[in-house]
């Protein structure tokens, strides 16, 4: 246990992730196989995509609890459109626009009404889910084969969901690290007051982060239903918490201004998915999954806060 602690301390989340891979490989022969590693990648794609969106929101010192509802709405819309014979060329952009608009709405409510993000997105979480249930008659919608094909086909040997994940991570990372908008998010996340004093368009930046979040949730919803083939009334529930956990595991601060998508959030999401996958492979009690996930979050946050405390006491002297 102490050894594990030192490794995590030194290598952070990446060290923990590698340890988990090592542990599961020793526990089961079928874990460290090309087939299973590709499986983990495919399974992690949805979580990684929405966690990228959540990273935008968290970096601006906000939070978005409505991700799961956005995914659900996107799924219901996909089901309604495609079962009525609308082609994917129209349905897919529509789904993305729904996600984007939902995020924009969150951002506008937060900025214009000056309400705290937690409350606003808690309200839109219920409203989004309610609207979805109303539209779907609280029935599961089975999706046509065409959508499932997105989930199962491959380009250059790589599954499409993984391509989409790579694309989202790449674009997200470039936006955050290279664009004016991205750098402004860090400034606003550190202090809205200072950012306003420096003449930055704080409100537009904030709305932008929620729009990015909504868009990513829409993409994530699409990737998820393309693998599931159906939209159940509980689709997407609690996804926002998984996304927050992945981002925080990857080192993004809930207080804003600190963290990033690559490697941070990506490794965070992969770690969570590795735990899920590994526990299934070693035939662990399904109830154990959430306990282990919770324990890992504790471990990482604890190590992180201890290191911060140490740095603080060092800088005092």
């Amino acid at each position: 246990m102490t050894k594990l602690f030192t490794i995590v301390k030194r290598q952070g989340i990446i060290g923990l992730w590698l340890l988990l891979i090592l542990g599961f490989s020793l526990a089961s022969e079928s874990f460290f196989t090309a087939q299973n590693l590709v499986n983990i990648l495919i399974q992690a794609s949805t979580l990684t995509i929405i966690a990228v969106g959540m990273t935008f929101v968290l970096l601006s010192a906000g939070i978005d609890l409505s991700f799961g509802s956005i995914m659900f709405l996107a799924g219901v819309a996909a089901g309604m459109l495609t079962t009525r014979g609308v082609g994917l060329g129209v349905a897919v952009p529509t789904i993305l626009i729904i996600g984007l608009l939902f995020g924009l709405l969150n951002g506008l409510l937060i900025v214009r009404l000056r309400l705290i993000p937690f409350i606003v997105t808690l309200a839109t979480f219920y409203m989004g889910r309610g609207l979805g249930l109303l539209l779907s008659d609280t029935r599961a919608i089975n999706l046509p084969e065409a959508i499932l094909q997105i989930g199962s086909s491959r380009i250059l040997g790589v599954p499409v969901p993984v391509w989409i994940m790579i694309l989202v991570v790449l674009i997200g990372h470039l936006i955050l690290s290279r664009t004016v908008f991205g750098r402004y998010i860090y400034a606003v996340g550190h202090s809205k007051e200072k950012a306003a004093k420096a003449g930055l368009p704080v409100n537009r930046i904030l709305i932008g982060t929620y729009a990015m979040g909504g868009l990513c949730a829409g993409v994530g919803g699409l990737v998820a239903i393309a693998q599931l083939g159906a939209v159940s009334p509980s689709f997407g529930l609690q996804s926002e918490f998984l996304a927050i956990a992945a981002a925080v595991l990857g080192g993004t601060s809930l207080f804003g201004g600190k963290g990033g998508i690559f490697p941070g959030t990506v490794v965070g999401a992969f770690t969570m998915q590795t735990i899920q996958n590994g526990l299934v492979i070693v035939n662990a009690d399904p109830y154990l999954h959430q306990l282990v996930t919770g324990a890992v979050i504790f471990l990482i946050v604890w190590v992180d806060s201890r290191q911060n405390a140490k740095k603080k006491s060092l800088s005092l002297n």
Binding site: V180, R183, K197, L200
Partner: protein, 503 residues
Amino acid sequence: MLELKGIRKRFGAVEVLKGIDLTVGSGEIVGLVGENGAGKSTLMNMLGGIYPPSEGQMSFAGRPFAPQDPADAFVKGIAFIHQELNLFPNLSIEENLLLNDLPTHHGIGKQVVSRQQLRQHAQVLLKRIGLDLPTSMLVGALTNAQQQLVEIAKAFRGAPQLIIFDEPTTSLSRHESEILFRLMSELRDQGIGMIFISHHLQEVLSITDKVVVLRDGELISQNATSSLTKETIVEDMVGRSMDKLFPKKRGEVSDQMLLDIRGLRGEGIGPLDFSIAKGEVLGFYGLVGAGRTETARAVFGLDPSYHNAIRWLGEDISHFSPAAWIKKGAVFLTEDRRVDGLMLGRPILPNVQLASLPRFAKRVLSRLSHEAIRGQVKVEVEKTRVKHLDLDTSPVAQLSGGNQQKVVLARWLMTHPKLLILDEPTKGIDIGAKEEIYDLINQIVEKGSSVWLISSEIEELLGMSDRIVVMNGGHITAEFDRRDFDEKAILDAALDRLNAEAP
């Protein structure tokens, strides 16, 4: 270059500036001093374009000057360096320097930051202020002084002809301040005019060419610095002489030891031996970083430490914590009252009563007598002369720094402490409020309590202490009784090793 004539400013019925005439030439550093509320900020805010004067004319570089807003004032050549730095520690130096004007690529990438241009621009700005650091460093990794310099470098995005420094040295050590002053004299040689606002009169005397004193919205004096002394400036500021500023009463220091510390060691300090007698004011002098605050924190149980013996009124104390000290009657007012000491968003009443609540309740869950508490709070607030509107609605954040400090003092005086540890109690507050705090310290020791006064202002310690202990590099390097006080010897003891270490 800058000329103000008959400037008046009214807020509602209150006239805060009553006809100010002021000139600043190019290559001239003008010191602007006065108590808080004298009108310095109001005057500077008009120059900085935050609001216009009610009456009077401003002209700058030979033309009438009426800035629309801060951005306009900046474009016209006036840069305002505010006391609180507007920097983002999580961004790099170059990003901070050019934040609202990040250079981007052209065409399709016009939202993408051009790292190369950013670096080049930033390097030009850093060169201007003589800071030799990689521009991609995070600002959070810089020292206070370096951050201050980065803030100043931001001014050179434009072509400033006049720079206003609002208390730039408050968070700097002496050595760091000197770096700033060196830069200021370089800028003076380049023909840039500067206005330097500071409570540190020694600094004002050493760097400025001219000193302007404001009092109650009026310009009291405007003299060449060479003709001034600290005493004459203080007289102009407060309208009376400096002896009255440190009204040290020759109280009785008892032979009985209140606190006796042997072999205290903490991170970066010790071993230290010192003691405080009943009714004594013990001054602790040293440079920033000498270990004074660390010593107090270790004694109070805020940081880990080791010791051979700690005696309180002759009794051996092996285990201590802040809560245990407060129970015994020792309290600690930290340097940063805004962060550590106050609930800024709440009014005076809850802030003052906080430490005394247990005294008003018999058991943890028994009811509090709000009237009794309120009455006592009122007494303390009056005793400490907190200037306030009301006790229970206006948040203390609205009070001036001096009054906030008095609120913290009132809270602890209400607990009748035997020992008051004061860490820089007068930092950043005006002379009038300082005087009242000195007065309170005198009252406290007159009643037989003791004060451990940590300060970077040597005059304050000379004026107030019965004994001064000097720290340097984590050790006690000298100790002076009141009759042996010698400013030069004290400074030597504080600076000694630092000078030896310097190349």
